[in-house]
Amino acid sequence: MSPKNSEIKVSLRNLSRHYGNVAALHDFSLEMTTGEMVSLLGPSGCGKTTVLRILGGLDPQHGGRIFVDGEDITGSTSDKRNMGMVFQAYSLFPNMTVAENVEYGLRVRKISPEVRRKKSMELLEMVHLSHRPNAYPNQLSGGQQQRVALARALAIAPKVLLLDEPLSALDAQVRVQIREEIRRIQLETETTTLFVTHDQEEAMSVSDRVGVMNAGELEQIDSPAALYNKPKTAFVASFVGVTNKIPGEIDGKGRVRVLNQKIDLSKNSRSAQEGEKVLALVRPENLEISSEFDTDAQPGLVITKSFLGPLTKLGVDLGTENLVYINMTSQEARKIDVGNRVSVKITSEELMVANV
């Protein structure tokens, strides 16, 4: 999943944008290497779409600069940037056939009809729609329309491919299928791609790197595995994946007292004062459950049990405000049932903490 080339393709430097008094983007910087696929992930209103639209020239920035292939394109208009864009939905021109839609960017560039048709057929082949060149958008399913939009965006051999939540209007099964196709085509064409999504599974499964945004700022950008396993901020830890927030307290040695255990604070965690009440952020797979009594562990009662195939998710009441969720193999989970008394222990050596 590593980028093909370490050459810097896109460099966004200190971008900012505000709507009235609200800062949609604040001092945002990002570099993308050639052929890399970067996803921006974050809650609604975090500024991820704003970044994409600024890069595509569809919205102006109020500060900062944009470089593509080393060239400063900050002031150029969207039609001069040569960036293919796939929107959330409904972006195909309804008066044109599938082939005409794909050919549109080439027609604008005054490419001959024969070359255009050949290129559009190649791209339709790539997105598995070569059998429907004469269909109109309203004759296609949502997934097919997005494939055409992808082919149309790729037809101009874009410097950067911009994907603005292109799967959000599709049903779950089609979404998985199309996202895999997007990744396959992106790798085949080695197109540098910025993918904006609020779906973390989507971002994690197809990207070389994922940037997590919050309140107009980039909290962390890293490989999907590093993002999950080594979050640098409490926001990333709680936003990416499932995280239990278990009440604890900081002791005199800077450790967290939680579930009858004392665990070191993560290097990335914020500093905390002795006696401060905090929420320890613990992944479900970093909790161990046992049906035997353990003085180092926290006793609890199993309230829910959800079978997820190879894994089973248990919800345990540890006397805290919320249930604590624990993942274990379905094989092991056979020994534990709802209503059983159990002991729960944290297995991680260090923890991130968040404010109560």
């Binding site: 972006s91 021109f93 008066n95």
Partner: protein, 291 residues
């Protein structure tokens, strides 16, 4: 036994089909009694030559010069007023569509009122403003622009087009705005990101997408102008020969013996013109969609 069951099923199927079509009954009633029946009556009456004789004498008369001239004038008025109001209304609708929500609702409300303000009051309003001694005409004369001296008269085809525009432009704004609301911002942005200019977007996307709605709206204006009666009557008093005015005068009693069915024949002529317009609309729509 099985045939009895089949027959029961068929009966209950028929009953449920009847139930499903029941909501269409009021529409069917209106369609039959307020559309089909009047058309049947005017066709029948147009053929009625009196004393139990039926023939085409009214149609032969209809195809003579004065009545054909009335059709030509009506078509001319409808075409030019629909086109003028259609183009101006489309531009107004476009700017209204891009304006704030508050202005949009104000314009929509105003358009609703103005689109329905035809008839005698409108005619007198225009006479007061644009008549030979009207306020605006007098004002323009004082400023050195004598529009009547230049050949303009309110009581002419040009004058009627001006007056019709008063209610047709708002009507166009009302009927064309929904089509503009259906335009998606993503189309323009996709055009830009693919390197297209605004001109290319207008030429290749905007106009083809909006054309069917524009055509439909203009045809509605055409039909509205073609059948308008009160405004033209009040304004011109019959000096401009339009088909509805001719029919009106025939119905009013200015009927020469043996021509009682002429008004009906002219009405049939109007139905035929409307039918041709609708056919043209259908073909145009298919062409616009199928390109």
């Amino acid at each position: 036994m099985s045939s009895l069951k089949e027959s029961t099923t068929r009966k209950s199927g028929g009953f449920s089909a009847l139930l499903k079509t029941l909501p269409l009954a009021p529409f069917s009633f209106v369609f039959l009694f307020f559309f089909c029946w009047p058309i049947f009556q005017i066709v029948k009456n147009s053929l009625d030559q009196g004393k139990g004789h039926y023939g085409l004498s009214a149609y032969r008369l209809m195809f003579t010069k004065p009545y054909m001239h009335a059709f030509a004038t009506s078509l001319q008025l409808s075409f030019f007023s629909a086109l003028t109001a259609g183009l101006i209304g489309a531009v107004v609708a476009f700017y209204v569509h891009r304006s704030s929500a508050g202005l949009k609702s104000t314009i929509a409300m105003l358009s609703g009122v103005l689109a329905n303000s035809g008839g005698v009051p409108l005619a007198f309003m225009f006479i007061a403003a644009f008549g030979a001694q009207g306020g605006i005409v007098t004002l323009l004369k004082k400023m050195g622009f004598d529009i009547y001296g230049a050949g303009f008269t309110l009581y002419s085809l040009g004058g009627l087009i001006l007056v019709y525009s008063f209610f047709q432009i708002p009507l166009m704004v009302l009927v064309f705005t929904p089509a503009l609301e259906g335009m998606r911002n993503e189309w323009r942005e996709a055009n830009n990101s693919l390197g297209g200019s605004n001109f290319q977007f207008i030429r290749w996307v905007l106009i083809p997408v909006l054309f069917p709605a524009f055509l439909a709206s203009v045809l509605l204006l055409f039909a509205s102008a073609f059948s308008a009666f009160a405004t033209a009557r009040a304004l011109t008093g019959g000096s401009v020969g339009l088909v509805p005015l001719v029919i009106g005068s025939l119905i009013d009693g200015n009927v020469i013996t043996d021509q009682a069915n002429l008004g009906d024949a002219l009405a049939v002529g109007m139905v035929v013109v409307s039918g041709v317009v609708m056919l043209f609309y259908g073909f145009s729509l298919r062409w616009a969609r199928g390109r």
